[in-house]
């Protein structure tokens, strides 16, 4: 490797970008003949899509780490709750009343342990990091979709958002106008 990096992620990233660049350069000459054709779009878009997918790999790894921690917290809490249930119910008789008592102890214990976990700072922090990574991946997906929509001459997410924002602003203006008209009509009538 040119930069001497031993990081497999860097190697993978550089290889992907290198080949997508090469393919873009090689294919752009013949496809330039039809400057607005689908093949030219495809070749230029491929680079953007490859870059997003490559970057997403790093986030997938981080997402998995938070997901593992999430399940670790859940399984640890489950084990702790079950141990306490076992300790509390070892002397219960194996009749109908004993079964009912076991059910009650099980539900109460698990409820307490898990509510304690969900109320804790460590759960909240890890959970929010997990969501944050999921959103990063979602953002990458949105970029890929935007590239594809653009190549199909469709409005992108950003463009649709701009329309929604404009509509919202227009609705607010109309509502204010209607309200001031009503007020002046009322004043005139009085």
């Amino acid at each position: 490797m040119q930069n001497g990096s031993n990081n497999p992620y860097d190697y993978y990233k550089k290889t992907a970008v290198f080949w997508s660049d090469m393919i873009t350069m090689m294919s752009s000459k013949p496809t330039a003949l039809s400057a607005v054709g689908p093949l030219r779009n495809l070749s230029t878009n491929m680079k953007k899509i490859t870059a997003e997918i490559t970057e997403a790999n790093k986030e997938i790894v981080e997402f998995n780490n938070f997901l593992i921690e999430y399940y670790k917290q859940l399984s640890q809490t489950w084990t702790d709750a079950q141990n306490e249930v076992t300790a509390k119910t070892s002397q219960l008789p194996k009749d109908e009343e004993g079964t009912e008592a076991y059910k009650r102890v099980w539900i109460d214990n698990f409820e307490n342990y898990f509510t304690g976990l969900f109320d804790s700072k460590k759960f909240s922090e890890n959970y929010n990091k997990l969501i944050s990574k999921e959103l990063d991946l979602m953002k990458r997906w949105n970029v890929v979709m935007d590239v594809m929509l653009k190549s199909a001459n469709m409005p992108t997410k950003q463009e649709i958002d701009e329309i929604y924002k404009e509509l919202h602003s227009l609705k607010q203006k109309i509502s204010k106008l209607e309200s001031s008209t009503k007020k002046s009509d009322k004043n005139d009538a009085e």
């Binding site: 539900i107 509510t115 109320d119 759960f123 969501i131 929604y164 919202h168 609705k171 607010q172 009503k182």
Partner: protein, 353 residues
């Protein structure tokens, strides 16, 4: 050698449970086909997805001041009329109230920029104007439930001249004092990133939040009880109605959700009189009308500590704080609410209407 002998009753119970699982589809209605809401109403005003419902009177003589119920932004309004015997709406109509209720509808991506300003100064204000014109009054009574209680509080602080009486039922007011799991999750939540990426708050995310509130009572025990009671018609009917209601959570508009999480839970602006809605400061001291705050002691969605500070923050001299030994939903849709909460509310409102 000791023998592990089980009580035959346990084996019988186990077999019954298995039989109930097999027979349930034959005996019970399909959950999504269950009808909820029984009291008749007219849709008298519509704006975007929002609808104003006017319930048909059940008494000849009516209380003069109309009452508008501001429903929450989570789930649908049906919980107020889920069952004729536990219907909040029917009870108030029988007490002679001229009753309106807001249904916020189901927002789509088109509505992602709707915020507090739209909900309070546009939708809510237009509904109040409509009711005042219809009823030929200058002021109305307003009741807000849960997050609807917060909206009603903000509205009343910004438009006190239009509110005769304010009733807030389990309102979300002081986010820092909220001790629920929901509050814990919002502390380090990157709401800007969430809304910018996803848009509206999807229902699935809310189902997750609900599922961790009481995971074993609500996620396990409830369904065991359901399977053990498939022959109890009344129990099953009530169970399915509540389940259907829980399953119909609409998305929350992204902008509103963002303002909500930041303004109420993270920065706690409302109780500190630092919140701005439509460029106007929301001061709780402007609340000088009669105020009735209803709080459920066993509320696991909005803790009592989160609702009660409103009572002490307002300037009103005619204010009542009432604590009830029930839960968030129990306060509005239960036999207890019919016997205790609603008669007290009706009496309080009639004395001031």
């Amino acid at each position: 050698m000791t023998q592990n002998r089980f009580d035959p009753k346990i084996i019988g119970e186990f077999l019954n449970f298995g039989r109930n699982i097999t027979e349930a589809p034959m005996k019970i209605s399909i959950p999504h086909e269950v009808r909820i809401g029984s009291t008749e109403f007219d849709v008298v005003y519509k704006e975007d997805k929002m609808r104003l419902l006017h319930f048909k009177p059940l008494t000849a003589k009516q209380v003069k001041t109309p009452l508008l119920i501001v429903y929450a932004i989570i789930n649908r309004y049906h919980i107020f009329d889920i069952d004729p015997k536990k219907s909040w709406v029917k009870n108030l109509l029988e007490q002679g109230f001229d009753l309106y209720m807001i249904d916020w509808g189901t927002p789509t991506s088109l509505d992602k920029f709707l915020g507090f300003d739209d909900y309070v100064n546009r939708y809510l204000d237009n509904c109040v104007e409509f009711i005042c014109n219809e009823s030929d009054v200058k002021k109305i009574s307003m009741q807000g439930y849960c997050t609807g209680g917060t909206l009603a509080t903000v509205y009343s602080a910004l438009h006190p001249e239009k509110i005769k009486n304010l009733v807030v039922t389990a309102p979300v007011i002081d986010g820092w004092k909220d001790t629920t799991v929901v509050s814990n999750l919002t502390k380090s939540f990157d709401v800007d990133k969430f809304v910018d990426t996803i848009g509206n708050m999807p229902p699935e995310f809310m189902y997750y939040c609900f599922s961790i509130l009481k995971p074993f009572e609500q996620g396990v025990e409830k369904y065991l009880k359901f399977m053990n009671n498939i022959n109890n018609e009344k129990f099953i009917e009530s169970f399915l109605k509540i389940e259907k209601w829980l399953d119909e959570t609409p998305p929350i508009p992204g902008q509103l959700f963002k303002e909500w999480i930041k303004g109420i839970y993270q920065d706690n602006l409302l109780i500190q009189n630092k919140m701005f809605v439509g460029n106007r400061q929301v001061s709780l001291e402007k609340l000088d009308m009669p105020i009735f705050t209803q709080v459920a002691v066993g509320d696991h969605l909005v803790s009592p500590e989160c609702s009660m500070p409103l009572h002490y923050a307002v300037s009103s001299t005619d204010k009542t704080l009432q604590l009830y030994p029930t839960g968030h939903v129990g306060m509005i849709a239960s036999s207890f609410s019919q016997k205790k909460v609603l008669p007290e509310l009706g009496q309080w409102l009639k004395e001031r209407s």
